[in-house]
């Protein structure tokens, strides 16, 4: 499985890369929304993990673009957020996100969500 991980927090991207790689997940990292969009268009991954609270408030806009572009609309997106109201999960689902995970992110929970989103059987840990 190859995923695109878009988050500006280097601690989190390093943590998730370090924990997902041994499970056979190839992780491409983007540190802002524009970089994420370009990467997804150039080389579509099997799933996208997207922080919607990156600086500039561009995460939701990126989600909208990913879900409306024919090149990327069928790629599952798992949304991460450091905070949110009770409406946030519904809002991101309406924009086409497959799942919503509140930070701090448990790497194992993210792995399970990725397997659900891509229909892959989880590898034993």
């Amino acid at each position: 499985m190859k995923i695109l991980l878009a988050d500006d927090d280097r601690v989190l991207t390093t943590l998730l890369t370090g924990r997902l790689r041994p499970r056979g997940v190839e992780v491409v990292v983007a540190h802002d929304a524009m970089q994420a969009l370009m990467s997804a268009m150039r080389s579509p991954p099997d799933a996208i993990v997207l922080d919607i609270q990156m600086p500039g408030g561009t995460g939701l806009e990126a989600l909208r673009k990913l879900k409306t572009s024919t090149k990327t609309s069928s790629i599952p997106v798992i949304v991460l957020s450091g905070s949110g109201t009770k409406d946030t999960p519904r809002e991101v689902t309406e924009l086409g996100a497959d799942e919503f995970l509140l930070k701090p992110v448990d790497p194992e929970a993210l792995y399970q969500a990725l397997c659900r989103a891509t229909g892959q059987a989880p590898a034993p840990s």
Partner: protein, 185 residues
């Protein structure tokens, strides 16, 4: 004072004491606004004298702060969550790498929070605290995360009364946390 406020300096000193001997700290301030005293005590100071200084009041405060048995500093806090190594899949090398990344980014993230507090800019403050909180939350760091949430809430609600004490508290928590992280890195 320039460079670092007395509240921040107190928080840093309390952070480094981390449960050890508590050095009495007495605030001297020319500000006599309501709430100043509470702000100083909340930041971990022991007493408060206002300027212009009356020597008698200062000596009384020093006597009060240094008499009797030494007060213990606050309980040492296990700032990094117990489950952290497990969270890292038992991978200590990964934990060290994460600690190093956090410590590399930390001065700039903290400076952004301090600048936003100084400029009383709630928008910048919310964004800056959010980034710092997110990075710290990866390590557990419950105490620092809770202090950051309080500051972030003030910024979001555009209610910056007491923001300096809240920042000093966050600074103290972050100091304890980064000292512990430094031991890992």
């Amino acid at each position: 004072m320039p460079e670092m406020s007395g509240l921040e300096a107190t928080a840093a000193i309390r952070g480094r004491e981390n449960g050890g001997r508590r050095t009495p700290i007495i605030a001297m301030t020319a500000r006599v606004l309501k709430g100043d005293r509470e702000e100083c005590l909340a930041a971990g100071m022991d007493d408060y004298v206002s300027k212009p200084l009356s020597p008698k009041a200062l000596f009384q405060a020093i006597d009060a702060a240094t008499s009797g048995p030494p007060r213990p500093s606050q309980e040492p806090l296990a700032v990094i969550g117990d489950g952290l190594v497990a969270h890292m899949g038992g991978d200590r090398a990964l934990l060290r790498e994460l600690a190093a990344i956090f410590l590399q980014d930390y001065p700039a993230r903290l400076a952004a929070v301090r600048a936003a507090v100084g400029q009383r800019d709630p928008g910048a403050l919310e964004a800056a605290v959010h980034a710092l909180r997110g990075a710290a939350a990866n390590f557990g760091a419950d105490e620092a995360v809770a202090a950051a949430v309080r500051l972030e809430t003030m910024a979001r609600e555009r209610n910056l009364g007491g923001v300096e004490a809240a920042f000093a508290e966050l600074f103290g928590c972050m100091t304890r946390f980064t000292v512990e992280l430094g031991g890992l890195a």
